[in-house]
C-alpha cells in the first residue's frame, strides 16, 4: 500500500527566555514587515497579542504625541536645495534628516513622503493642503527661499499660517515663489516644542526597530547556546551502581 506523507513546512520557533517555552514565529519576514507597518501588528499576527497591543499603544502614542507637540510640522521629508547638506544628491540629503528615524515607525510617517513628492512634482503643492482640521501643509516639508509652489497652496498658506503673509511671495507665472525660510518660522513659533516633538517621533521610530527584530527573531533574551540546550536537554544519567 502506498502512503503519501505530506511534509509540513518546518516551524520557525523562538524560545521564551522566561520559561523556555516555544514561541511560534509563523512567517518571521511577514511578521517583521507587519511590525514595521503598524508597530506590534507582527506580534499580534504571531498570536502574541499582549505584547503586540503594548507595542502598538506605546509607540503609536509616542509618535502621535510628538507630532502634536510639534504642531504637525516635525515629520517631513525634504530634499530641497537648501536642506541641510546642500549640494549633495537628494537621497543623501534625505539620509541625514530625522525622517530616516521617523520612517521606522511605519505607515504613520509615509504621508510625509507623499506630501514631499507631490510638492516637488509638477503640481507644486502637497497632496493634502490642510487648513481645516489638519494644519496647513500637514507633514509637508518646509518651503525654502526661492521655492516655487502653486497659487492654490500659496493662498492656503496666507489664509491659515500666521507666519506667512501675501508679500512673502513673488509672482512667478502660473506659480508663486516663496521669499522666506519656513523652517525658521516654525522654530520661532514652536520654540522648544519643535525639538521635543522631533525627539519623540524619532525615538518612536528607533524603538520600533527593536519591535521589528522581536517579531522576526523572538525575544532577545536567551543566547543561541542556551536555546539549543533548552530545546535538546541532555539525557538523564543512570543512577545505578556497578553490577555485583
Amino acid at each position: 500500500m502506498r502512503m503519501v506523507v505530506e511534509q509540513q513546512p518546518p516551524r520557525i520557533v523562538a524560545i521564551s527566555p522566561d520559561d523556555g517555552s516555544a514561541i511560534d514565529l509563523r512567517n518571521p519576514a511577514l511578521a517583521a514587515l507587519l511590525s514595521w507597518a503598524v508597530p506590534g501588528l507582527g506580534q499580534i499576527y504571531q498570536g502574541r497579542t499582549t505584547k503586540g497591543s503594548l507595542f502598538m499603544a506605546a509607540i503609536l502614542a509616542t509618535f502621535v504625541f510628538g507630532l502634536w507637540l510639534g504642531g504637525g510640522k516635525v515629520v517631513y521629508a525634504s530634499w530641497a536645495d537648501d536642506a541641510p547638506g546642500g549640494g549633495r544628491r537628494p537621497i543623501l540629503k534625505l539620509l541625514i534628516q530625522p525622517f530616516v528615524c521617523q520612517a521606522a515607525a511605519g505607515i504613520v510617517s509615509l504621508p510625509a513622503l507623499v506630501q514631499s513628492v507631490q510638492l516637488s512634482g509638477p503640481m507644486k503643492q502637497p497632496f493634502v493642503l490642510g487648513g481645516g482640521i489638519l494644519p496647513v501643509g500637514f507633514m509637508a516639508p518646509p518651503l525654502v527661499p526661492g521655492q516655487e509652489i502653486s497659487r492654490v497652496y500659496a493662498d492656503r498658506l496666507v489664509r491659515h499660517d500666521p507666519d506667512v503673509a501675501a508679500d512673502d511671495f513673488f509672482d512667478s507665472g502660473p506659480s508663486k515663489q516663496f521669499r522666506r525660510d519656513q523652517l525658521a518660522n516654525w522654530h520661532r513659533r514652536l520654540g522648544r516644542f519643535f525639538e521635543i516633538g522631533t525627539l519623540y517621533t524619532m525615538l518612536a521610530g528607533m524603538l520600533n526597530l527593536l519591535v521589528i527584530y522581536d517579531a522576526w527573531a523572538g525575544p532577545f533574551g536567551a543566547s543561541e547556546e542556551e536555546q539549543r540546550r533548552r530545546s535538546n536537554p541532555p539525557p538523564p544519567r543512570s543512577s545505578g551502581g556497578r553490577p555485583s
Binding site: 527566555p17 522566561d18 509607540i59 507637540l69 525615538l203
Partner: protein, 85 residues
C-alpha cells in the same frame, strides 16, 4: 458612523482641547518631557527581552531605574559644572 465620530473627535480636539493642553504643556519644564521617553524606552526594551507579562513589568522597572539613574547623574554633573563656573 465611525468616520463621523472620528471627524467630530478631531474637530473637538483641534478647537477645544488643543489650546487647553498647549497652555498646560507650555508650563512644564522641558526636562520633564524626557521622563515619558525614559519610561517608553524601558518598556520597549523590557518587552523585547521577555515574553511573560510579569517579567516584562519587572524588567521595565529595572531599566527605568537604570536609565533614570544614569541620566540623573549626567544631569547632576552638568548642573554642578554650571554652578562651579
Amino acid at each position: 458612523m465611525i468616520a463621523t465620530t472620528l471627524v467630530t473627535t478631531m474637530a473637538a480636539t483641534a478647537w477645544f482641547i488643543d489650546p487647553l493642553v498647549a497652555t498646560l504643556a507650555g508650563r512644564v519644564p522641558g526636562i520633564l518631557f524626557g521622563l515619558p521617553l525614559v519610561a517608553l524606552a524601558s518598556l520597549i526594551f523590557a518587552a523585547t527581552h521577555h515574553e511573560d507579562p510579569a517579567a516584562i513589568r519587572l524588567a521595565a522597572v529595572h531599566w527605568m531605574v537604570w536609565l533614570g539613574g544614569m541620566l540623573g547623574m549626567v544631569l547632576a554633573a552638568v548642573l554642578l559644572l554650571g554652578w562651579l563656573q
